[in-house]
Amino acid sequence: MKIQYCDALVIGGGLAGLRTAVATQEKGLSTIVLSLVPVKRSHSAAAQGGMQASLANSVMGKGDNEDVHFADTVKGSDWGCDQEVARMFVTTAPKAIRELAGWGVPWSRVKRGERSVVINTERTTITEADDAHGLITARDFGGTKKWRTCFTSDATGHTMLFGVANQALKDDVDIRERKELLSLIHKDGRCYGAVVRDLIDGELEAYIAKATNIATGGWGRVYRTTTNAVICEGTGQAAVLETGLGTLGNPEAVQFHPTPIVPSGILLTEGCRGDGGVLRDVDGYRFMPDYEPEKKDLASRDVVSRRMMEHIRKGKGVKSIFGDHLWLDISILGREHIEKNLRDVQEISMTFNGIDPADEGPKGWMPVRPAQHYSMGGVRTKPTGESPDLSGLFSCGEAACWDMHGFNRLGGNSVAETVVSGMIVGNYMADYCLENEIDIDTATIEAFVEKEEQNIREIMSRPLNDDSIFDIKRRMQEIMDDKVGIFRNGEELQEAVDELRELLERSRKVGIRYVTHASNPELVEAYRLPKMLKIAISIAYSALLRTESRGAHYREDYLKRDDANWLKRTLVRWSDPEATLPEVFYEELDIMKMEIPPAFRGYGRKGMTIEHPLSAERQAEVDRIREELEANGADRFEIQDALMPFDLPENYKEKNERQGIGYA
């Protein structure tokens, strides 16, 4: 048996994993990163539109700061987020982007003087200040009060990922590709590393570490139509479930992006609408202002996606053999803007659909329809990133439910979360490594490896039946698309749960045609499938139990956000490995600790909330504290601290400088 020892083990080499690894390695800890693919090919590379950080450099961002970013994030989450974590996040985001700039990410910069932009389909001139020249600029995104999303054209994830990966190479982090986490090794409530399979030679190895981080990204591929890469299968989160101890938070909180292109599902960034593009229907009519007079095409993603589907249901969609769709029109932005700032969008549209979106009029319109995009849910952690259930187990990035997104994530807040959580969680993880020794015996390690060996032997020894892995997988994805999608109801969710459970049973019996260990994609599909099904069941079952609508979770049979009964986080645990359903329980969100108690989001339907009695009470308290402190001349930081104190490692809690106003 091969055993590898290190201090910090990071599973996943996307933005979150790599930034964590830099944090632990720079604290002198030996760090190993494992990834299914070369790390620079992780799905972070596909992020297009940008990263939110309240720098307030551009004239359209003036007045922005941590407080405004915080309020946008909380409203976006439909009050489902952990506000303390959201505070940690907004305070660190400006530091994260400045760090990345120093690592060479070529952020687009403010150019002094006049420039022409499109706002609300009107061409308008804005004037950038002299003293902002050369600082990082930002674009508009959905659900934000200010232009806050920093970018490198529409290849932001790519440049960020290369910047962080290069830093990890510089620091000599030990990065190993084509390695797959199969299961976590744990004993007496502590995680000691992982059983890992080499995807080239098929060998199993044990990686033993003081602390282990799950940074394996989203689980979008349990759906059929998704913007996610083919490796986003949730196997990391499933490994946590399979410990029987670790929990997932809010799996039912799944985001659907308004504008993936039809039929491939490849994303066209929100930057299209942020920069002034609009949605149109079969008549070429711009319909969003009718539904959302204030934020129009730029309400939060859950709202826009639902409005689009509502409009399609009214018969206003464009018919095609791939189903009804709507149009995304960016031609109004002009060719020059598109070829500079929306270049990947243009390339995708031309390559896959033969449409040049810079062509004027209907010729340039791109067919779009909402599809699965992001998992707000994931491995439940404390604000430090550590699992509340297994010590020494950490998680960050899209894989985690750290919980700054609640039931809807704002565009640009995810890549920002990856690096910010990498900085914060990486630091807490390093502290854990410095305080704890490895004290696990080889017999325990061997038992965990043997269990996985046994599982693979068992799969290879199954007789072929008339079932097929590919059929089961496709059926799972169809069920998720059809019954656990944008509009949900009790009846269909129940059907989904029932059938997914049957699929899980089938997946445990299906045989494979090739029985070699080395480089065998069929075997890989076979052992991943039950893991994916456990994720799918967790999503569908949690969605069935949550009898309210909040953020992206929309129940046609329970239309209201029910703060009185549902201001709580779903937790899912799978203690019986033979079971086909997990246990579901809940964690209350404490209104009396919130900085912003639940209220109307400012977009979406009004009057659709069942209020919690404490919301008004806490609001009165918040108002009183604010008034008193203001009367005593307290600044915004002191008021914030009085309302909801929070901690950060390093110097991350220090104030952020802004052009023209210093540290105010």
Partner: protein, 258 residues
Amino acid sequence: MPDTAQNKGRMLTFEILQYNPSDPQSKPHMVTYHLEETLGMTLFVALNMIREKFEPDLAFDFVCRAGICGSCGMMVNGKPLLACRTLTKNYPDGVLRLMPMPSFKLIKDLSVVTGQWMDGMSKRVESWIHSKEEVDLTKLEKRIEPEVADATFELDRCIECGICVSSCATALMRPDFVGAVGLNRVARFDVDPHDERTAEDFYELVGDDSGIFGCMTLLGCEDNCPKNLPLQEKIAYMRRKLANVKDTGGGLEIRVEG
């Protein structure tokens, strides 16, 4: 909508190299499959159908399937391309011959090791910012001229797909050649004002025949680069700049035009 309707239903022929170097019994051989073309079919769609229908253990690599991550380079009728961006309708006779990219270690069938190769390249050219400045994260970021940031971004768009390496005669003959991808990377850090390295520093890294002087200007790299990077122009520019270092024996402040 896509203009592929007229091609729907055509029978396509795929000839695919199959070989597993880790299996002593395996010999490289071509296997032929037939598939009915679907609307807007890419090689991503086609290869997955072949795996599902005929060959469950056929090895190939896709991640983003959108031309963004650089995973899926392969030889299509002799030309290295990103398979996920390759539409079958662009092959009028309906025959696609698929081989793994040369110059990289073969894992199996169409899957090759590009990641470690690229990490080696990155380490050799020290593909990270070299700066003595301590960045204080609480302070305003360093100001950069907008045009310079854009110029850096332009060269930062490389996705390390390896297609330039597979298009390059020098790379085939000299496995230690850093390739257009490595030389472009040097040019990228050269324009980035955050990086303090001088021409002499870059000369140290790539000033030899496995670096900047290895390029024979055959242009295959630039012709095939899926990101349309200006590889020849940048290589020529860096060559002039580094040749100057050689001529003057290094150690001098050098001005170059270009």
